[in-house]
Each structure stands twice: as structure tokens, then as C-alpha cells.
């Protein structure tokens, strides 16, 4: 490292070197993720169990009201397991999105004092949520065993791809919001509301088939592709819809690139305005 040469020039546009740099700073990425996990569960009585309790309780409440009482159809799958798959991915997406949108503000004390590739911050907050996702997945395994569902191996292999799409959607959207948040602090108040609305236009508590001919409109929402295919892969509710995955993937990739672009633009002068 001692031969490292740093050149500082006025405007640095996005460069392949940035990716290399993120790799160089991977230990810091690890530490940020570790810090977030550690701090979050440090002062709680039941600690990591929160990661399980939240989706579990939501699932129970939804199953009682939407499944048993409102009798929302669930593509022939027991409602608890149906809604849990949806919730698992939805919570990963929504919590990653809201955390990412706060990264610049929440870490301004560090950002204005030390240099590191700023993209590490949103990536680390998504990593934290991924850990939660994995912990909460244990319940899903339990539910699947209880109801006697065995995923096909091919379906199981699809999950990482779906996670990547969710990752791109939440980071892409989050970066975009994080950039706006620097100038307009309204985002903090508007976002929870927005996320709640978004959940109802995403087939989390109901199957996409309920929308009938309008389901193509729902396909604009990338999380629909993710959740619908997660159900198809794990529960065999329908054949895997590769077109939908393809559309979601491309949409999220574009969202991610826009997010990175906007974020990078703000990042350059961020330290000057806070």
C-alpha cells in the first residue's frame, strides 16, 4: 500500500475504480454492518428474537384477519405460509429502503470527518437487513415443515436471484431518497406512509391473481415480481414466471444506476452543506 498514489481533482465522475475501492474498504463494510447489528440488539431484552418476533406476529395477525375472517384467497396454499413468504421479502425491502434513505443524515458526523467510499454505508445497512431476513427465514422453514411443503431444488436456487433484485430495488430507491433527504428533510416523515401504501399495491397479503386483467399494471412494481416468484419457487403456487423476473431485474438495475448517479452527485458536496 505504501506505493499508493492519491490524486485529487475537482470533479470525479463514476469510475470503475470506485468498485475496486469498495472492495478495498470491505473490512470497513464489515465493521459498519457489525456495529449496526450489535447496537440494535444491545439494549433489548430479547435481543435477536426481535428479528423473528416482528414478522411472526404480523403473520399471525394477518392470518387471523385477512385469512380466516376476510377469507382472502391464497392460491390454494395455507394462508399463514402464503403471507409469510410475502412478508419476509416485503420487510427486507421496506426496512432496507427506509434505512438506506437515512444513511447520509444518520452518518453525517463520520462523513464530514473521514474519507471512505460513501456507497459502503447503504450497502452495509442492506447487509444488516439481510441478516434479519436470514434469521426470520427460520420461521418459514418451520412453517413449511409443519404444512409439509418441500421446495424444489430449482425453486430454492431462485431465491438468491430474488434477493439480488430486492437488494437493487431497495438500494436504488434508497440512494435516490438519501440524496433528496439531504436537502429536503421531509422524506423522513413521508417515507413510512409511502411504504405502507406501497405494501397494499404489492401482493403481500393477497395473490396477484386477484387483480385479474389489471395484474399487468401491478407488474410495474418490481416487488410484485419478486414476491410472486418467491411463492412460485417455494410453494409451487404457479410456474416460475421468467418474463416477470426479467422485467423486475432490468427495472431494478435501472433504478439502482439512477440511484447511484444521483447519490454520487450529492455525495460530492454533501460535506459542504451540512
Amino acid at each position: 500500500m505504501s506505493s499508493a498514489i492519491t490524486v485529487i481533482r475537482p470533479k470525479r465522475l463514476f469510475h470503475l475504480r470506485d468498485l475496486k475501492e469498495i472492495w478495498q474498504y470491505r473490512e470497513l463494510l464489515y465493521f459498519f454492518t457489525w456495529r449496526d447489528l450489535k447496537v440494535r440488539y444491545k439494549q433489548t431484552a430479547i435481543g435477536v428474537a426481535w428479528a423473528i418476533l416482528q414478522p411472526l406476529m404480523t403473520m399471525v395477525v394477518f392470518s387471523v384477519f385477512f385469512g380466516s375472517l376476510a377469507k382472502i384467497p391464497s392460491d390454494g396454499v395455507p394462508y399463514p405460509i402464503f403471507v409469510y413468504v410475502g412478508l419476509l421479502f416485503w420487510q427486507f425491502f421496506s426496512s432496507a429502503l427506509s434505512d438506506t434513505s437515512m444513511t447520509l443524515i444518520a452518518n453525517q458526523a463520520i462523513i464530514t470527518k473521514v474519507y471512505f467510499p460513501r456507497l459502503i454505508l447503504p450497502i452495509s445497512s442492506v447487509m444488516t437487513k439481510l441478516v434479519d431476513f436470514l434469521i426470520a427465514s427460520l420461521i418459514l422453514i418451520g412453517l413449511m415443515a409443519y404444512y409439509g411443503y418441500m421446495p424444489h431444488l430449482s425453486g430454492f436456487l431462485l431465491i438468491p436471484l430474488l434477493l439480488i433484485i430486492t437488494f437493487m430495488a431497495s438500494v436504488g430507491g434508497g440512494l435516490f431518497l438519501a440524496a433528496i433527504n439531504v436537502k429536503y428533510r421531509d422524506i423522513r416523515y413521508a417515507l413510512p406512509f409511502f411504504i405502507q401504501i406501497l405494501m397494499f399495491v404489492t401482493p403481500v397479503i393477497y395473490p396477484a391473481s386477484i387483480a385479474g386483467k389489471y395484474s399487468t399494471i401491478l407488474a410495474l412494481n418490481p416487488m410484485m415480481g419478486v414476491i410472486q416468484n418467491a411463492r412460485a419457487a417455494l410453494l409451487g403456487t404457479a410456474p416460475i414466471n421468467w418474463t416477470l423476473i426479467g422485467i423486475s431485474f432490468i427495472a431494478c438495475l435501472i433504478l439502482l444506476l439512477i440511484g447511484i448517479y444521483v447519490f454520487k452527485k450529492v455525495e460530492r458536496y454533501f460535506a459542504d452543506i451540512v
Binding site: M1, S2, A4, I5, T6, V7, I8, R9, P10, K11, R12, E27, L28, F31, W34, R35, K38, V39, K42, Q43, A109, I110, I111, T112, K113, V114, Y115, F116, V182, K183, Y184, R185, D186, I187, R268, Y269, A271, D272, I273, V274
Partner: protein, 409 residues
């Protein structure tokens, strides 16, 4: 000949100052504005696109060039708003320059604050790793130096206690200790020594001297503390209003700095003096003296501060602090609390002067929220009609009476 380790070529940094109060705006206000006054909004927008709005350009740095050779310890001094911190921020890549280029040949570590990223909920042990990583150390490197860090900070007993239970002294010691064990080729240090008690400051200075002498590291050291600069640096860069005045031997540089610091009217750059509620515009020396900021012994010190209140302040208190060049506080005085409405105010200040001859730093503060340290250097001259022949050591000359009588008992 080896190439210089730091080459700074024509660096400039421009800030745009919009005359708008507050740091951020709410989207709600912007939308309301559009709805309420669509035409004036459009006019404003069109003006800003055409570049006609009253945006003030402020050059925090203008055409700064210098280079540093390997193993040199360079001090950077200058008055408030001279561009010291901006220079350091650009070198640490926290903010980009507007123009120019910098080449640094070696790993760079910057220390703009001690304890960056410390988390109160985490233990001392955990914070050492986290802070080390933020400062650019690898996990193995931190593990290797862990014992040294703990020993230097002297917190062995509290390693597994969350740092929120630490006393402020312990906290600073731990934070500095982690920072002191960084091993970059180039170390950039801002006024981190301003924290902590005098004794710990000395320990830190000693540690920094060790680092440079033994290990031949290159250091750029920004400070108000002339004593510290004198002790550490061979060469010093003097900045004034964003430009380099001189880059020369430390002693000479300090002289230049002290003479530059004295101008009768001190205009405070808006970028520095902006606060949500007020703006300090000008500080003026009011004594009848042909040399600005020079007074004789026991001559009262008079100055006037022009301040604009931009938001009603129910509680307003104004303070002046006098500090020795070694960084020790001589005294602080402040006004009574009053409430001020929006508008411009003149604050007339008259200070009784019991200072011994020498140079002092003047600072200004508003409530406990705003500080403008070292806005000027005050020179107290030895006047001829001095009734004592000897001057006492220290900063203050107090009335004294010694009666010496033969004891006849």
C-alpha cells in the same frame, strides 16, 4: 532527488452562499411557495437558471500551491476563515476542490477529530476496532496494536464497559490513543489537541513528536496553538484569506501570522459566521492607537461588534475570551442575558486591562452555542510610565503592596 510526497497545485475552493437562512429547507415550503406565488417562483427559477440570483461566491481557498517532502512536519496557521480547515478537508477527500490538483505519494490518514464514529453503546474494546477501521486500519493491524492502544489510553479496567459510561477524559484518551497508532505515510491533523486537559495535551504532543522523529512520517498540522506548532513543526504555511502568504521557517511564519492577524476592522467571512439565528459581520478595534489591536498596559481595550440577528432571540449573551498564545485561557467575560428582535446591533465592549505585556488571542462567543476563537491577536505593550520596574510573570498584573519593616520585637 525524490519527488515531494505531497504536491499541491493551484488548489481553489469556491463556496456558494445563498442568502437564505437555515441549512436545509422543507419540501413542504417549496411546494407551498409554488402554489402561493407561482409567478414569483418561476421568475426566481428563471433567474437562477440564468445565473442572476444574488448568490455570493466565496473563495475559501484561492490558488494555493506548495509541496512537502517526505518526513517533514508542516504547520498550517492562519486566522479564522483563512482556509486552514478547508485545505485539510480537501486533502482528506471529504470535499473536492473547485480547481487544481493534488498528488499524494503514500497512504493518507486524516485526523480531523478524535473518536470519529465512536458509538456510546459499544464497549471500549469494540470501539477500538470500529474507530480503527474508520481511520483506515485493517482488522489484523488493530489486533496487533490493541495492547499498546489500551495501555496508552490507560483504560484497561474499563475495556468491556460501554463508552457512554466513560468520563470525558477517558473517552478522549481512548479516542486519541487509537488515532495515535495509525501508521499512514502522510498524517493530516486538525486542531484535535484542543480537547482534553493540559496534561493530556502534553502527552499527545510528546507522542506526535515520537512518531515523527522515530518513524520519519510526514505530518500536516493545523492549529491555533502557536506553542504546539513551535514545538512540532520545522516549517509553517501561513494562510490569509484563502491564499498562501508565506511558507517558511516556523519562527518567521509565526511572526508573519501575528502581524497579519492585526487589522483594525475584521470582516468575518459569511461562511464562518453564519448561524441559524445570527451573523457576525464585523469586529472593529476602537482604541485611539495608530497600531490596531495594540494597547498599553492598563489601557482599557475597546471594540465594537456588528451583528445581525436573523431570527428573534429570546436569550442572547455575548462573551469575549482571552487566551495565551500557548493556548491557556486567561479569562472570559460576558454580557448579561437580554432578548433581541431581528435587526442589526452594535455591541460596544470595554474591557479593563490587567494583562502583562505580551501577545494574547481574542475569541468571541455567543451563548454556549457559537465560538469564534482567535479572531485577533491583542498585543499589550510595555509603557514607559510603568511604576514597577519588574514585570511579574504570568498573564495578570494585580495591584500589590509590599511593606517591609524591620522586626524589632
Amino acid at each position: 532527488m525524490e519527488k515531494p510526497i505531497i504536491e499541491i497545485k493551484n488548489i481553489s475552493k469556491k463556496y456558494k452562499i445563498t442568502h437564505e437562512r437555515g441549512g436545509y429547507i422543507a419540501l413542504r415550503d417549496v411546494l407551498m411557495n409554488i402554489v402561493k406565488k407561482p409567478f414569483s417562483y418561476l421568475k426566481h427559477k428563471a433567474k437562477s437558471v440564468a445565473g442572476l440570483t444574488k448568490k455570493e461566491d466565496f473563495w475559501a481557498l484561492k490558488d494555493v500551491s506548495f509541496s512537502v517532502n517526505k518526513g517533514e512536519v508542516i504547520g498550517v496557521i492562519g486566522r479564522n476563515g483563512a482556509g486552514k480547515s478547508t485545505l485539510l478537508k480537501i486533502l482528506s477527500q471529504i470535499t473536492p476542490p473547485t480547481e487544481g490538483e493534488i498528488i499524494m505519494r503514500g497512504t493518507v490518514g486524516s485526523l480531523l477529530e478524535v473518536g470519529t464514529g465512536f458509538h456510546p453503546e459499544l464497549t471500549g474494546r469494540e470501539n477500538i476496532f470500529l474507530n480503527g477501521a474508520i481511520l483506515g486500519m485493517g482488522r489484523k493491524e488493530i489486533a496487533k496494536k490493541f495492547d499498546q492502544i489500551v495501555e496508552f489510553a490507560g483504560i484497561e479496567k474499563f475495556l468491556d464497559t460501554p463508552v457512554k459510561y466513560y468520563s470525558s477524559g477517558m473517552y478522549v484518551r481512548l479516542a486519541f490513543s487509537v488515532a495515535a497508532h495509525m501508521e499512514p505515510d502522510i498524517l493530516l491533523v486538525d486542531e484535535v489537541l484542543a480537547v482534553g486537559d493540559a496534561e493530556f495535551q502534553k502527552k499527545c504532543l510528546g507522542k506526535m513528536e515520537d512518531i515523527t522523529k522515530k518513524e520519519g512520517r510526514t505530518i500536516l498540522f493545523v492549529s491555533h496553538n502557536i506553542g504546539a506548532i513551535r514545538q512540532l513543526c520545522e516549517k509553517t504555511l501561513v494562510l490569509h484569506n484563502g491564499s498562501v502568504v508565506d511558507f517558511t521557517d516556523t519562527e518567521k511564519a509565526i511572526d508573519i501570522y501575528l502581524s497579519k492577524t492585526k487589522s483594525e476592522k475584521i470582516i468575518i467571512p459569511a461562511q464562518k459566521a453564519n448561524h441559524e439565528e445570527f451573523r457576525i459581520k464585523k469586529i472593529e478595534f476602537k482604541n485611539d492607537s495608530n497600531k490596531p489591536w495594540v494597547v498599553e498596559c492598563s489601557e482599557k481595550i475597546r471594540m465594537e461588534v456588528l451583528i445581525e440577528i436573523t431570527e428573534d432571540m429570546p436569550i442572547f449573551r455575548f462573551g469575549i475570551g482571552i487566551t495565551s498564545l500557548g493556548g491557556e485561557r486567561v479569562c472570559t467575560v460576558h454580557s448579561r442575558e437580554t432578548n433581541l428582535d431581528k435587526g442589526e446591533y452594535l455591541v460596544n465592549i470595554e474591557l479593563e486591562n490587567k494583562l502583562t505585556p505580551g501577545r494574547y488571542e481574542l475569541g468571541l462567543g455567543i451563548l454556549n452555542r457559537y465560538n469564534l476563537p482567535g479572531f485577533s491577536i491583542l498585543e499589550v505593550e510595555d509603557n514607559k510610565n510603568n511604576k514597577h520596574e519588574l514585570f511579574n510573570h504570568g498573564f495578570i498584573d494585580i495591584e500589590s503592596d509590599f511593606i517591609i519593616k524591620k522586626n524589632n520585637q
